[in-house]
């Protein structure tokens, strides 16, 4: 990720928590629309490269079961100056959560639920492209 022209590397790792909204979570399971998810990840990477002065950027997202404490997503960005790496890293995780077609099922004590599609919950959908 580094390199002679990089002065900063910012990374973000999303990890599976044992607790969410009052539930004792025992496992996460991710499902993706793989072809479109990869395309959207590539697209948001290109948008970041256009918006900030970056050296390199990488995003990995797991699918399938992710145990508590394990990483579900890793984002790494390098740049000449730290502001760019921080901003692009933040942008990437926010965009992933808005528009990349990946869904998380939370398995907890006594049940399971697809996050984002519980009835009664209000969503703000991303702006349509």
């Amino acid at each position: 990720m580094g390199g002679p022209e990089a002065g900063a590397i910012a990374t973000f790792i999303g990890t599976a928590r044992n607790y969410n909204e009052g539930r004792n979570v025992t496992l996460l399971e991710y499902e993706a629309y793989p072809e479109m998810a990869e395309q959207e990840l590539r697209r948001l990477g290109q948008e970041a490269m256009g918006q900030w002065d970056l050296c390199r950027m990488a995003i990995v997202h797991r699918v399938g079961p992710v145990h508590i404490g394990e990483a579900s997503v890793v984002i790494a960005v390098s740049s000449g100056h730290r502001q760019d790496a921080f901003a692009a890293c933040r942008f990437a995780i926010e965009e992933i959560k808005k528009r990349v077609p990946i869904w998380k099922k939370e398995v907890f004590e006594g049940g399971e639920v697809w996050i984002g599609t519980q009835s009664g919950q209000a969503f703000s959908p991303p702006s349509r492209k």
């Binding site: 479109m36 997202h61 077609p101 990946i102 869904w103 984002g116 599609t117 969503f123 959908p125």
Partner: protein
């Protein structure tokens, strides 16, 4: 004409299948296809307000007119990360 509907996550579980082949009328919009699907599978929730539509792997607006052989995905709120 014929389109392929792919279903993921909660929608896949509710319908009990990840892929459907649908015969639709020429000029149908992606939103009309969703309405049609809900008539067929009433277990699908009324979630138009939070649904996104993707055709051939790109997000489209609800009034997008479908073409023969399109791959359509109804995208419930994503929750990756």
């Amino acid at each position: 004409m014929k389109v392929t509907v792919k279903l993921f996550a909660a929608l896949r579980q509710q319908v009990g299948s990840g892929e459907l082949s649908k015969e639709i009328e020429e000029g149908s919009t992606v939103e009309q296809l969703w309405d049609f699907l809900r008539e067929e599978s009433p277990q699908l929730p009324d979630m138009k307000g939070s649904l996104l539509y993707a055709v051939n792997r790109n997000y489209v607006t609800r009034d997008h007119v479908l073409q023969d052989q399109d791959e359509v995905v109804f995208v419930p709120p994503v929750s990756g990360g």
